[in-house]
């Protein structure tokens, strides 16, 4: 039983060491402006040893509300959706290295009650 636990611990440690030792590779990097100076949005997907991490954010002025929705498609086909809702100044969703195949991000900016810009971007 103890030997089995040791093996598991060794495997996890090896995986962490492997992820840490291999340089992260920029899979997809999108950095664009929302229209008419309403701020910016970014999707940064990196990979390392077959795993991926993601940083999706939209930001600009505190006068405007930003929303980020991130759909993560995992290696087994499972989809997980996370959303910030509209928040003043900025919105961000990050995920550390995981067995993800693909990320789809929705970014939007709102001024008062009116949507000023919205985009869908993807990275894999």
């Amino acid at each position: 039983m103890k030997l089995s636990k040791c093996k598991k611990l060794l495997a996890v440690t090896s995986m962490v060491a492997l992820v840490g030792s291999v340089t992260a590779f920029a899979d997809t990097y999108i950095n664009e402006n929302f229209v008419d100076g309403y701020g910016k949005y970014m999707l940064d997907v990196n990979s390392s040893s077959g795993m991926r991490s993601c940083d999706a954010c939209a930001w600009g002025s505190k006068e405007y509300d930003y929303n980020v929705k991130l759909i993560t498609v995992y290696s087994d086909g499972q989809e997980v959706i996370r959303e910030t809702g509209f928040t003043a100044g900025s919105a961000r969703i990050t995920s550390s290295y995981e067995w993800a195949e693909d990320y789809q991000a929705f970014m939007a900016v709102r001024d008062g009650i009116e949507i000023r810009d919205k985009v869908w971007v993807s990275g894999s």
């Binding site: 997809t28 950095n31 008419d36 509209f86 008062g112 009650i113 009116e114 949507i115 869908w120």
Partner: protein
């Protein structure tokens, strides 16, 4: 003694509960009360799967308007927005409801379903069905201010009305650390100007600019060690100041609502341009009550013959 302690504890608890309730009172009270009751729209239009009412149910038809009730709890917002109950005959087109509902707690997901429905509906034959090979391009809309139905919140938006928009139609990104341009063959713009309701002479002026290689290179900057491109507004400003070269591909005035197609296949095949910039402008008399909606969809070809057959049957819908 014990009794006094219990009384004190209960008193503190009561004060604490009152305090919590006070925290729930918003700083700004935006809610407005209206006498409009939202009911399901009439059954005759509900059965039409292409109709707006097969997606949205938060409105009532009143005085030739569709009056939508928009609720967003996080902002304590409960308002009505009246949109002319008019749609052009023929194909389904974008509607102002497709944008105003995006801020409603219950309707925002349905709004995306309606946009996805339009993207599929307007997809020409021969285009890829892959998610990554098509794209929604938000262009713009205006929330109408009709005093009888709406609130001061809507009135405020009229002051910030935007009548001109520019958009880059192709994506620029770093893929595996290399600068990449994601080009789309077909662009469809869906336009609704509600001309049958307003009987006005408003029009949508549409310009397409081709960005040649040398101009494109000049628009790439390095930020935090990574390549990013300038905004389409900045590039057009430079063009207007004579600081860079662009080619005008089309300059057309559209007076009728509908879905208009543009084909960039030849440009892609010849690698003539590295980006296409769309400039769109609403012209004519624009009152506070006026509304319009513009939305774009892009597609990539996978079956050339199927597309050419479709194009031959729909040639009147092409403006480029």
């Amino acid at each position: 003694m014990k009794k006094k302690i219990y009384i004190l504890l209960i008193a503190f608890l009561a004060l604490f509960i009152i305090g919590c309730n006070d925290n729930n009172i918003p700083e700004e009270k935006n809610t407005q009360e209206h006498n409009i009751t939202i009911e399901n729209p009439s059954a005759d239009v509900q059965n039409d799967k292409d109709s707006l009412s097969s997606f949205y149910t938060n409105f009532v038809i009143q005085d030739k308007y569709r009056v939508y009730r928009i609720i967003e709890k996080s902002k304590n917002m409960d308002i009505n927005i009246a949109i002319p109950d008019w749609q052009p005959e023929g194909d389904a087109v974008i509607d102002t409801a497709d944008f105003v509902n995006a801020i409603d707690d219950e309707m925002s997901d349905i709004t995306q379903k309606r946009i996805d429905f339009l993207k599929e509906k307007l997809r020409p034959n021969g285009m890829s069905k892959e998610w990554k090979d098509s794209k929604e391009i938000f262009i713009g809309y205006a929330t109408p201010y009709i005093k009888e139905y709406t609130s001061d919140i809507v009135a405020e938006t009229v002051n910030k009305r935007i009548l001109i928009r520019t958009k880059s139609l192709w994506d620029f990104l770093l893929k595996d650390n290399k600068e990449t341009i994601n080009k789309y063959n077909i662009f469809c713009i869906s336009i609704n100007m509600y001309e049958g309701f307003y009987h006005s002479s408003n029009a949508t002026r549409l310009l397409l600019y081709g960005v040649p290689e040398e101009t494109f290179k000049d628009t790439i900057k390095i930020e935090d060690g990574k390549s990013v491109r300038e905004s389409s507004e900045t590039i057009l400003e430079k063009y207007n100041n004579g600081e860079c070269k662009l080619d005008i591909l089309t300059d057309i005035e559209l007076t009728k609502s509908g879905n208009y197609y543009m084909d960039f296949s030849e440009i892609i095949a010849n690698n003539t341009y590295q980006n296409i910039i769309l400039k769109i402008e609403l012209t004519g008399e624009v009152t506070d009550e006026y509304t319009y909606a513009w939305e774009g969809f892009e597609y990539k070809t996978v079956n050339e013959q199927a597309y050419q057959d479709w194009k031959a049957e729909n040639v009147d819908k092409f403006i480029y």
